[in-house]
């Protein structure tokens, strides 16, 4: 938590002015109806963007891009029987990035006029020229052909902003009522929606209009045993998705049962919030009396909603080329997977480990037509049969690894932040041979099945990690035998992925999402998905996290 966020503790329920609780990039609180108004049309945006590009070139830029951004957010928060807050925000402005004297410069303005954008462009060039005096490495961009005037839209079926707020409140309050009726002590539930309307133009000749949607329904249900003072929480098994409100219309085909005896249901492209809260309430009460784990080595069976976060931390981040090269050394850290390490051809994982980067996958958070520097998106291999084959790159990095093509991984959280390299969707490919979760569990002698993501921590070079989960089940001689508590596992990234012993097939594959992945200074947030099927890892070190305090 940032020191300046301390005041945020007063919370929405206190009725305080909402500003400190809303990220600075979210923009102004507006009437919900405002979120349905169309933005400026593409012809006008082209005219505005050209004013910026021309001003940058006239001031001496050798390259410039202009991003006109309109970000819309709506969040509904409830607890128990009450609505805690409904916020609708709009942020509108322009960011101009330039190269002058071989150095980047950036400036942003919310004065979205030809004059305002031209002024920002001139300021960006001034900053670039000033910084070029202490610059040692000249910027070199991988070539991109101009795309002309093009458009892309997240393929949603129902725009969540068009759904009346009352319907969202009704859904959340019915979720809360279900939990309370089943004996939960407390419940918080939310629906968060994002619509990024982005217009990108560059001196390469691209004019790209994109309309991007994301949705994240979630809850946390708490059970308390007053007599012992023990409390436990079970978070939702939903994922944030690159979908519209259709995600909240459950379909039977999207439900995937966990192993027999586990009472876990996973969700693909639609989510049954009422069903999940019912099993969450049942499970959270079981957690209060579940057996405390005996520490030691176990074979772990990890469901996709859990494994997604492990993939995110131990594969997605270490393969970001800016970390590998040292650009994030002061905050997020560097990476063990250096160019020298890659050259040694050391196995990242077992032969079953095939991991792809993907900016196209339908329903994913990272899917866009073009990235924030006008590169058409694609899918590519990161790890093939256990061997590291590539990184995640943007235009000014490709030459540093002897390549001449960006991977389309450039992103800025808003028009007022400079774009930089972010993680694409990074997913473990499902097994090629038919394997169900029950078949996988059948062969485990002493193991733990973990569903949902819990506490997570990893070192700054991505060697050593520790993960918790939402629910844990003991596996003995191929059977689920009951719930466990106080479970966390610790491993080394390479040892862990090399212990990968089985991956379920495509029928079990689904997406997990990270809605607010932080990186950079000042920190920026991005959203990314990770797909996988239930996977087995052998002989992983499990610790017991129970402690006694006074």
């Amino acid at each position: 938590m940032k020191r300046r966020d301390f005041v945020g503790l007063s919370g929405l329920a206190a009725g305080a002015l909402f500003i400190p609780n809303i990220p600075s990039f979210a923009g102004n609180l507006v009437d919900p109806a405002r979120l349905l108004e169309p933005g400026v049309d593409a012809a006008m945006k082209k005219r505005l963007a050209d004013a910026g590009l021309n001003a940058a070139k006239a001031a001496g830029a050798t390259y410039a891009d202009v991003r006109i951004g309109r970000s819309l957010n709506q969040n509904v928060f409830t607890r128990e029987k009450q609505v805690q807050g409904i916020t609708s925000t709009e942020s509108y402005g322009v960011g101009v990035r330039v190269i002058a004297n071989g150095t980047w410069g950036f400036a942003a303005t919310n004065n979205v006029t030809e004059a305002g954008i031209a002024k920002a462009a001139q300021l960006a060039v001034q900053i670039a020229k000033a910084n070029s005096k202490v610059q040692k490495e000249q910027v070199k961009l991988a070539p991109v052909k101009g795309h002309g005037e093009v458009a892309w839209k997240t393929p949603i079926q129902q725009n969540a902003f068009e759904v009346p707020i009352k319907d969202k409140v009704d859904l959340l309050l019915s979720v809360n009522a279900k939990a309370l009726e089943m004996g939960a002590s407390f419940i918080n539930s939310t629906i968060q929606q994002v619509n990024e309307q982005k217009y990108f133009a560059s001196t390469d000749g691209s004019y790209i209009d994109q309309d991007i949607h994301r949705i994240y329904p979630s809850f946390g249900v708490t059970a308390i045993d007053r007599a012992s003072g023990k409390f436990r929480t079970r978070q939702a098994l939903s994922s944030p998705m690159g979908l519209g409100y259709e995600y909240l219309s459950p379909k039977a085909a999207d439900k995937i049962a966990g192993p027999a005896g586990s009472d876990v249901v996973g969700y693909k492209n639609s989510y049954d919030m009422l069903e999940d809260v019912a099993s969450a309430t049942k499970q959270v009460k079981q957690k209060l009396t579940a057996k405390s784990v005996t520490p030691g080595k176990y074979d772990l069976v990890l469901d996709p909603h859990h494994l997604g976060l492990t993939i995110h931390e131990s594969v997605g981040h270490p393969l970001e080329l800016d970390r590998v090269l040292g650009y994030e050394a002061n905050y997020a850290g560097t990476s063990f997977a250096t160019l020298e390490w890659k050259a040694k051809n050391i196995p990242y994982g077992s032969k079953l480990v095939n991991i792809v980067a993907d900016k196209l996958q339908p329903g994913s958070l990272g899917a866009v037509g073009f990235d924030d520097e006008g590169v058409k998106t694609k899918q590519w291999d990161l790890i093939k049969e256990g061997k590291l084959v590539d990184y995640e790159k943007i235009r000014d990095q490709a030459h540093m690894v002897g390549q001449n093509e960006s991977d389309g991984c450039c992103y800025a959280q808003s028009w007022q932040d400079v774009q930089f390299q972010r993680m694409p969707n990074v997913s473990l490919q499902p097994g090629k041979t038919k394997l169900s979760v029950d078949e996988l569990v059948k062969n485990v002698d002493k193991g733990i099945y973990i569903a949902g993501n819990g506490s997570f921590s990893i070192d700054q070079q991505r060697f050593n990690f520790q993960f918790g989960g939402q629910v844990f089940y003991a596996i003995e001689k191929g059977q689920i035998t009951g719930m466990l508590e106080d479970v966390a596992y610790q491993a080394n990234t390479q040892e862990f992925w090399n212990s990968c012993a089985a991956v379920c097939d495509q029928s079990d594959y689904r997406l997990f999402g990270a809605f607010n992945d932080g990186k950079g200074q000042p920190s920026q947030s991005s959203a990314v998905s990770h797909g996988s099927a239930t996977t087995r890892f052998n002989g992983v070190n499990v610790i017991n996290t129970a402690r006694k305090i006074g």
């Binding site: 940032k2 009725g15 002015l17 102004n28 409904i86 050394a329 400079v418 610790q490």
Partner: protein
């Protein structure tokens, strides 16, 4: 435009309130003018500037409330903003946690902020000094310098009015050896940027980087540790001390879902939960870490003790929870002070027979809210101490420890230093639990 004077701010807020027809109305202005520079591999990577001011209006009809914001201040926009807040309020459900706005208050005047600020040129100069120093030693610097001025003004229809301006500059740098075998870190934050010496701070990080090369592995387990302030408090992430203090909410405790909940109901206020040498308080008037004079609700801050000689003295009460429990509400401070002694980190090392010196902890996450068990790792300078001296650098370690247990295992408390707007002493702790080794450098 970003920083309005007290008079200009209140003239504007008065005008805004005059447009309202609501039962209650409150308006606030926030502005910040700031700039930053970021560098890595001894070269500038990005630089940015922020200049923004924003108005928030909250209108209330009975127990219904609506908020709208804007960042343009012509008369038509201001009127629209008030109108929008009123329209949203009329449509909103009644809040079961409604508390009326507060009336006129008396506020403290924390020590004034700096008048001279960094410019783009002086920021670039500071970064250049840091990079030049490292390049000369064949080291690689990655740093971030960010600073500026902010103001907050509040006014409501019950007669409350408040204004405060403050300045802050933060600098941190990670220095790595060319072969990647050593890494060091240093951080500082100041109210007055004239007091920031980027070169000296970089020198500290550079020395740690050079002396951390060829680290040896030790067995994980329970060790006596000396935690430097940067291992106890972080401005931009969860930390051992920040996590503890910021988890002291009364509502969560009373509801039974906090480490401060009491078996059978109620909270643990008044109980001795920590070593008697532990005292933590907030004081907006402290000259070294001047605080906020008022919080978002307009409540006046004052010197307030959270933990007194190991006893939980007070919890954070929101206005709603305070009203419900018939106790005074807590004004939220923007920092805290942990009382300490006079010993420096070097003195603590001298007095240690066997132990580990920790420069920084990283990626701290809560494992169990019931016990406030946290996990995380050491980073950028971890050393083994023997017979009062640093013997050799050691490989990084993962810990699983609760600050509650940690503050019961106190061996010594050093002299508090400023970090992330707080005053935090280095601590010597026995039986600190490390659970695994990390190869990260």
């Amino acid at each position: 435009m970003a920083i309005l004077s007290k008079d200009d701010a209140h003239t504007l807020l008065k005008k805004v309130l005059s447009y309202s027809t609501a039962d209650e109305c409150a308006a606030s202005l926030r502005g910040r003018t700031a700039g930053n520079i970021r560098y890595a591999r001894n070269s500038v990577s990005t630089a940015g500037a922020q200049d923004s001011v924003s108005l928030a209006v909250e209108a209330r009809f009975g127990k219904r409330s609506g908020v709208a914001t804007c960042n343009e201040f012509d008369e038509a926009t201001l009127r629209r903003c008030v109108q929008r807040a009123e329209e949203i309020a009329k449509l909103a459900p009644e809040s079961p946690e409604y508390v009326p706005f507060i009336g006129p208050q008396t506020y403290l005047s924390p020590p004034s902020s700096a008048t001279t600020l960094l410019t783009a040129a002086t920021r670039a100069q500071a970064a250049a000094e840091s990079m030049t120093l490292c390049a000369a030693k064949n080291l690689s610097a990655a740093g971030f310098l960010d600073g500026g001025t902010r103001f907050v003004a509040q006014r409501n229809s019950k007669g409350q009015e408040a204004y405060q301006q403050s300045t802050n500059t933060d600098f941190s740098v990670t220095v790595r050896t060319a072969d990647g075998k050593g890494s060091g870190y240093a951080i500082a934050d100041v109210t007055d940027p004239a007091k920031l010496n980027a070169k000296n701070i970089t020198e500290r990080a550079a020395n740690k980087a050079l002396s951390s090369v060829n680290a040896k592995a030790i067995e994980p387990g329970k060790y006596t540790v000396i935690l430097e302030p940067a291992a106890l408090m972080a401005g931009d992430d969860l930390s051992l001390l920040g996590g503890l203090v910021y988890s002291m909410g009364a509502r969560e405790a009373d509801e039974g879902r906090s480490f401060l909940s009491k078996k059978g109901g109620g909270n643990r206020k008044g109980e001795k939960l920590f070593d008697e040498r532990i005292t933590i308080y907030s004081d907006p008037m402290n000259a070294e870490v001047p605080g906020n004079a008022f919080d978002d609700d307009g409540l006046p801050t004052k010197r307030q003790t959270w933990i007194d000689k190991g006893v939980v003295k007070d919890l954070f009460y929101t206005r709603f929870w305070a009203q419900k429990n018939n106790v005074p509400a807590t004004a939220y401070p923007n920092g805290f002070i942990m009382a300490g002694g006079t010993q420096s980190t070097a003195d603590l090392i001298k007095g240690t027979a066997k132990g580990i010196l920790v420069t920084r902890l990283w990626y701290i996450r809560e494992v169990d809210p019931q016990t406030l068990l946290y996990t995380g790792l050491t980073r950028d300078g971890t050393f083994y101490i023997e017979n009062g001296k640093i013997k050799f650098p050691i490989k990084n370690l993962r810990f699983n420890e609760s600050p509650i247990i940690m503050l019961n295992n106190i061996e010594a408390i050093g002299k508090p230093q400023r970090l992330a707007g707080c005053l935090v002493p280095p601590l010597k702790i026995r039986d600190f639990t490390f659970t695994s080794l990390s190869d990260a450098i």
